[in-house]
Each structure stands twice: as structure tokens, then as C-alpha cells.
């Protein structure tokens, strides 16, 4: 069972309440779109393209949390994991999808271990982004359509 932002706040002090910010939401969505475009660049490494997809997912997770009135407390241990889990719980993503994007987080954290990402990794990352962003967009349209205008 994925933990909601409220649970993560109670258990790990992972978030603080915040006001919805339409401008910030627009910027995060724009950043996600730009990162996806970066991930398609053939002139950079597979590892860089993989990280771009991860960044796109993370930006979309921040959109979800802000729309729900939460801000992550950056700097505490595991804050990326909290953002991904809290946002996944909010939009009703499956645990399987959450594990795939959390796997991307773990792999991204290994980027200084000298292990290059493969074409298969990139393909799976893109698929996870497409699924996560589709569920997030459906949730945003249904619950906070005004924030997308």
C-alpha cells in the first residue's frame, strides 16, 4: 500500500502544506516536456537520456503534490522517494508503476558508480513516464482542471 502525502508527513515529516501555485505548476509541466525532448537526443549518452526521463517524472510528481497542497521538504534523507510515493498515491498509480519509477530513482543515484544505462533501461523509463504522466494528467483534469488553464 502506497503512503499518502499526509501519511508521509506524519511518519517521516516529508512534506509541509502549501498553497497551490498555478505558475509553478506550469513551469514544472514545461520542464517535464523539455526533459522528455532531451531524452530523445541521439547525440548524448543513454545515461543522460535516462536521467532526463527521470527528471520529467519527478517534475510531474511535483505538479501533483502542489495541486494537492503539499511541498516536499528538500534536504531530508529520501526526499525524492517521498515525492514519488506521495504523488503516486495521490493519483492512484499502481504499486507496480511506483516500483518502476522508484527503481529509476535508485539507478539514477548510482550514476557515479560508473555503470552506463542501456537502451532497454531507457525504453522502460520512457514507458514508465508515459504511464505515470497519463495517470497524472487524468487525475489533474478530473480534480484540478483550473490549475491547467
Amino acid at each position: 500500500m502506497l503512503r499518502s502525502p499526509q501519511q508521509l508527513q506524519t511518519e517521516d515529516k516529508a512534506f509541509t502544506p502549501c498553497a497551490q501555485d498555478r505558475g509553478a505548476i506550469r513551469r514544472w509541466i514545461d520542464a517535464a516536456v523539455a526533459k522528455v525532448a532531451d531524452s530523445e537526443l541521439q547525440t548524448v549518452s543513454l545515461s543522460t537520456r535516462f536521467e532526463a526521463v527521470y527528471d520529467a517524472i519527478f517534475n510531474m510528481a511535483l505538479v501533483v503534490l502542489n495541486a494537492q497542497g503539499w511541498k516536499d521538504r528538500g534536504g531530508i534523507p529520501g526526499h525524492h522517494a517521498h515525492v514519488l510515493e506521495g504523488a503516486s498515491a495521490v493519483i492512484g498509480a499502481s504499486e507496480g508503476l511506483f516500483y518502476r519509477i522508484d527503481a529509476m530513482r535508485t539507478l539514477r543515484n548510482q550514476k557515479y558508480d560508473g555503470i552506463a544505462r542501456s537502451a532497454g533501461d531507457l525504453e522502460d523509463a520512457r514507458r514508465a513516464y508515459e504511464e505515470f504522466s497519463a495517470v497524472a494528467a487524468t487525475w489533474l483534469q478530473a480534480t484540478h482542471p483550473a490549475l491547467l488553464r
Binding site: 504499486e95 507496480g96 516500483y99 518502476r100 522508484d102 527503481a103 529509476m104 535508485t106 539507478l107 548510482q110 555503470i115 544505462r117 542501456s118 532497454g120 533501461d121 522502460d124 523509463a125 514508465a128
Partner: protein, 199 residues
């Protein structure tokens, strides 16, 4: 290793062997395969097996080349033993279950857990050899890490990459090859062939 099983069975060695046999119904093992699956050496595994075979808990058969060992399903303790191992919620049992769905030739534990030097906070290092990519491998073990509150670091490589690493003989891969591992799927010796020998 699950500490409660080690306490019940009077030691990690016996607990690991019984855990492997009880958590893999329908499978039988050669001595070496069982030892690798339990992260033990063949000598200790043989020493532990002898009284278990005599007591009828473990069934010893001969496949024409060597002895094979399996939990004796006719033993009255077989079923309770399987239930006990499952109920203990062992990390190894859960790792094996997670590995089943992976497209991999070999899955094994290396590092501090395999060497019995871990504590409850130690990361679990998992090597996955085969077609599965890193995202698939890492994601497969996420539920296990979450359940046991352990960080599980997977390293997913192809058989060809492993062969190349072993042929190069760097410190890390030499350590993986020579130190104790726990085979949770497949046999290390079937995949650990340096590229010069494989060509």
C-alpha cells in the same frame, strides 16, 4: 538470513539449508548447487545434510552422476517446515520469489549479506545476469526492500558483459567471483565463463 530461523534451527548454516529446501518445492539439488543456494561451502552443507537424511527430513536420491537432495515430502515435518519458513518472512525467501518473474539466467546475492557479515541496516547486493535490464531488475526487488526495510541494490548485466568483466579481472569482479555468493536462481558456474574461454 532470518534470525528467528537461525535461533530455531540452532545455527545459520542449518537454517539456510532448510530454508532453501523448504522454500523451493519440487526442486532437488546437487550438493554443490544446494551449497551455493545456501551461501555455504560443500563440506559444511554435507555435514549438515547427513543427520537430516538419516532422520528422513531430507530425501537423498541418485541421478546416476551424483546425489540429489530435496525436502522429503513424506516426512511429517515437511509441510509444517514449509509453512514455518514462509511465515518467518525470510528475506531470502522473498528475494527468491521476486527473482522468479525476472528474465534472468542467474540471480545471486553477493557482498556482506552473502558473507554473513550484514546487519539489519546493510544494503543487499543482488547480481542479475541475463536479458533483464536494470530498471526491470531493480523494480522486481523493490517490494522486498520495502517489506524488509532494506536497501536492495541490483546490478543487471548480460552474460556477455559478465564474461568480459571476468576476463578483465578487475578488483570488483574478482571479489564477486571468489567470495561467497548465494545463488537464488540459476548456477553461477553456468554463467561465469570468462570471454576468452567462451569464444
Amino acid at each position: 538470513m532470518n534470525d528467528s530461523l537461525a535461533m530455531l534451527f540452532g545455527g545459520q548454516t542449518k537454517a539456510r539449508i532448510l530454508e532453501v529446501l523448504a522454500s523451493r518445492p519440487g526442486e532437488s539439488f546437487h550438493l554443490r548447487g544446494l551449497a551455493h543456494a545456501a551461501g555455504m561451502d560443500s563440506g559444511n552443507t554435507s555435514r549438515i545434510l547427513r543427520p537430516l537424511v538419516r532422520a528422513g527430513v531430507v530425501l537423498e536420491t541418485d541421478d546416476g552422476r551424483a546425489a540429489r537432495y530435496a525436502l522429503n515430502d513424506r516426512s511429517p515435518v515437511a509441510r509444517p517446515l514449509r509453512e514455518l519458513v514462509a511465515a518467518a518472512g525470510s528475506l531470502m525467501v522473498d528475494l527468491r520469489a521476486a527473482a522468479v518473474g525476472l528474465d534472468a539466467l542467474y540471480v545471486g546475492i553477493f557482498g556482506s549479506v552473502a558473507q554473513g557479515k550484514d546487519d539489519v541496516h546493510s544494503d543487499v547486493d543482488v547480481l542479475v545476469v541475463g536479458p533483464a535490464n536494470s530498471v526491470q531488475a531493480q523494480a522486481a526487488f523493490k517490494p522486498v526492500g520495502r517489506k524488509h526495510r532494506r536497501e536492495i541494490n541490483t546490478l543487471a548485466i548480460t552474460r556477455e558483459q559478465l564474461a568480459q568483466h571476468l576476463a578483465e579481472g578487475g578488483a570488483f569482479w574478482s571479489s564477486v567471483a571468489t567470495n561467497r555468493r548465494i545463488d537464488i536462481q540459476g548456477d553461477w558456474h553456468d554463467v561465469a565463463i570468462p570471454s576468452t574461454a567462451a569464444d
